[in-house]
Symmetry: C2
């Protein structure tokens, strides 16, 4: 970030009066530009004893496996975001049961909200974002080829605690960005 | 948003190839600028049978009552954001019990994450953001002077369901922005 989105003035970085964090401040019009964490919404989508996994067709982590999830957009609810991302990444239509896990990733300023959901039919397939989509049993999970640590965190919570207990799993992950 | 933060070029608004939403695209360097919903983190902070409420000293909704909450910052977990906001708005130190409520506000692209928490001691007071801070019994809640619909939603869920049941209350609010 170098320039002001309002007036194209040069940004400087300083702690504004009454604040305690460095912000991008326009040296021309004085407007302060804030940046905030992003929500990644997605589904742990089930069909019988299998979980829907997607092999990423795009960077970052192309070729690695993920739960269907992505950035929440403006104008939608968290549930709508999770269902939309699942449809976009896997072609699967799901109905949400409940929120299963929240994972904070402070180092990359993301918060994952992952819902337990059911495939309405076992219909799914590749998309521009996923080169392969599969229903996966526990013994088939590619633990060494998962795209993101939050995905591993959610899968491990699922296989440890199961879907039955009405419990929300909250955790945070630290680690190198990009994973 | 009129100018690119990278090169100060003029932004144009169009649906990029492979996308289905209008984005701000730089007409000079081609970079796409995304905007995403913001997380508002806060606490339903308890001391015995009373809830901590703050009367806002700043706009929007100056003079109206709220649970202590505010925008999550980069580099923190959701729990840390909720505790920090509570401290900043009320001087109160809290310990978190569990996540109590998530409220999506698609019209203003906010997602509230409100935690049930306990005051460690009944110490609190006004701050630059709150002209008054009080521990409030159910019959004293200023229902007609609450700052935001999400705050009302969370308080109503609390008085309907109580703190005891380990249930997460998920809902969405629509309504005019600014309330």
């Amino acid at each position: 970030m170098k320039f002001c989105t309002h007036c194209a003035g040069r940004l400087r970085f300083a702690v504004p009066p009454g604040d305690d964090r460095r912000r991008a401040i326009c040296s021309q019009c004085g407007i302060i530009h804030y940046s905030n964490p992003k929500i990644v919404a997605g589904c742990l989508a089930l069909w019988e004893d299998r979980i829907l996994l997607c092999r990423r067709a795009i960077e970052p982590r192309r070729g690695y496996w993920t739960l269907p999830c992505g950035y929440m957009e403006e104008g939608e609810t968290v549930e709508a975001a999770a269902c939309r991302e699942t449809l976009e990444e896997s072609q699967a239509e799901v109905s949400i049961r409940r929120l299963f896990s929240i994972v904070s990733l402070p180092e990359i300023s993301q918060v994952y909200l992952v819902f337990l959901a059911d495939l309405q039919t076992p219909l799914f397939g590749p998309t521009p974002e996923s080169e392969d989509v599969r229903l996966t049993r526990q013994e088939e999970i590619p633990w060494d080829a998962l795209a993101f640590p939050a995905v591993e965190r959610v899968l491990r919570a699922y296989y440890k605690h199961g879907a039955g207990v009405n419990e929300l799993h909250m955790s945070s992950c630290t680690g190198p960005p990009g994973r």
